[in-house]
């Protein structure tokens, strides 16, 4: 069974999100997602300063098996990207919650509240 920390928020499309003290939101893919994808070998990150809409694909993660889009959990501006994981994609397989992908400065700070909590995401992850 995959790890689903209770202090994070989640999407139906298997992203996790965490609000930082500076108001930005850190985003990654869940343990369930990395497990389903298998060994990751390539991650395409967005450009700093790019504005994205909610549910817009803004990162591509590729495993040996397949390519998969990662969707923005909310509208916002890309304020940081994790270059370390682009250089070593396998670190996402090692710890999907430490190996974040992108930080967004959300257009609307309250948007994160409408995401799923751990319990609701667990129900989705368990379905497959």
């Amino acid at each position: 069974m995959s790890l689903i920390p209770s202090d994070l928020k989640y999407t139906q499309s298997h992203e996790w999100a965490r609000r930082e003290t500076d108001g930005s939101v850190t985003i990654g893919i869940t343990d369930h997602a990395q497990e389903a994808l298998g060994d990751l070998v390539y991650i395409e990150l967005p450009k700093l300063g790019q504005h994205v809409e909610a549910k817009q694909e803004f990162v591509v993660v590729e495993s040996v098996k397949a390519a998969s889009d990662v969707y923005a959990p909310m509208a916002g501006t890309v304020s940081a990207v994790n270059q370390d994981i682009a250089d070593a994609p396998e670190t996402v397989n090692g710890d999907a919650y430490a190996a974040w992908l992108v930080r967004l400065q959300p257009d609307n700070a309250a948007d994160i509240e409408s995401l799923l909590d751990a319990e609701a995401y667990r129900a989705i992850a368990d379905e497959g």
């Binding site: 497990e35 298998g38 060994d39 070998v41 390539y42 590729e62 040996v64 098996k65 390519a67 397989n93």
Partner: protein, 353 residues
């Protein structure tokens, strides 16, 4: 075998009507285990079809594009395509010569039902006096890697006597086992056919000896590095074997009239079937457009090569394109440079580029 895979926490996928393990953890580690030590694959989804009767050799010489006349010694195997009347590939297969009037075909899982129907209809059309026996009672385990043969001998000590003298593409029988020095990885090893109920026991013995269980995921990257085609991706019923790098499996230099021969283009191939190595970050996949000057080609299968640590692909390219050329592959909204190479990319534990 399903219970054995579950006990190893395999990630299962549906494949050709079978529930098959895709990996048991890290697909890349499984790949390395085969290149460096020994790994095993449950490939029971593939089907053995025994063909028997005095007309078998004549029947097969018409049914398949390679020439079974090359099979003189019992136990010898031949890789071939079975073509349709328009010269497209119905399936690729291995045919073993078992004895006087007995041959065994090993066909792909996804095409097994189609193949059986085709073989049956050829038998009727040609009024061939043969018996077609699909061996659904047999399981198949491939053990591959530099230590594979030693590990099989450790698991089945009495098999050593009959299998040690085997050259590549030869097989031997021992009681209910049929052991062939063949594979789909570019490494040495055996493929073992045995009664289904005995498969879990052999699997468990090999596991105890340290042979790594490997799934379909690693099988795909291993065969791709070895430059071996996958049916349904690199060729299909619309593809001539000459355009899929399989000219070496088509015996044209004789009077023999096999199905599809008349449809093969007289001027040979229309495409160069070659390999690509991506020169920048990214992952090649099948069905990506390859820009080669004014002309375009198409990738047929691609992935990440764990041995080369770069992405590789097989591709149908314009005839003017040669190994050493640089082309550009469309990956989403980017055009990424790739070098044209002659497969294989890696075999026997070593990169070949």
């Amino acid at each position: 075998m399903y219970a054995a895979h579950q006990a190893l926490s395999a990630r299962m996928v549906e494949f050709g009507g079978w529930e098959m393990p895709v990996n048991y953890g890290s697909q890349i580690e499984e790949h390395h285990a085969v290149r460096r030590r020994a790994g095993m694959f449950d490939i029971s989804h593939m089907l053995a079809i025994d063909i028997e009767g005095s007309a078998t050799r004549r029947f097969l010489s018409r049914l398949i594009a390679n020439d079974v006349a090359k099979l003189i010694e019992p136990g010898k195997a031949l890789y071939s395509c079975m073509l349709n009347a328009t010269g497209g590939v119905i399936d690729d297969l291995i045919v073993y010569f078992l004895g006087k009037h007995e041959f065994r075909l090993i066909v792909n899982a996804g095409t097994a039902a189609k193949d059986l129907n085709w073989i049956q209809s050829c038998k009727e059309d040609w009024q061939a006096d043969i018996a077609i026996k699909p061996r659904h009672d047999l399981a198949m385990i491939a053990v591959q890697g530099p230590q594979a043969r030693e590990q099989v001998w450790a698991a089945l000590p009495e098999s050593r006597g009959v299998t040690e003298p085997l050259k590549p593409f030869q097989a031997a029988s021992l009681h209910e086992y049929f052991i062939a020095r063949t594979g789909y990885t570019g490494e040495d090893g055996f493929e073992l056919l045995l009664p289904s109920h005995q498969a879990p026991g052999l699997w468990a013995r090999l596991l105890e000896l340290g042979v790594a269980p490997c799934g379909l995921g690693a099988r795909d990257t291993l065969r791709l590095e070895a430059g071996m085609n996958l049916y349904g991706q690199d060729m299909d019923e619309e593809t001539s074997p000459l355009d899929a790098g399989l000219a070496w499996t088509v015996a044209l230099g004789d009077e023999r009239e096999f199905v599809g021969k008349a449809a093969l283009p007289r001027d040979g191939r229309r495409w160069n079937f070659l390999g690509l190595v991506l020169l920048d970050k990214g992952v090649l996949r099948g069905h990506q457009t390859v820009y080669c000057g004014a002309e375009t080609g198409l990738t047929t299968s691609g992935s990440f090569s764990p041995t080369l640590q770069q992405s590789i692909a097989l591709a149908r390219l314009p005839l003017a394109v040669k190994p050493g050329d640089t082309v550009a592959v469309a990956i989403r909204d980017r055009h990424v440079p790739a070098k044209v190479v002659k497969p294989p990319f890696a075999r026997h534990g070593q990169p070949l580029l």
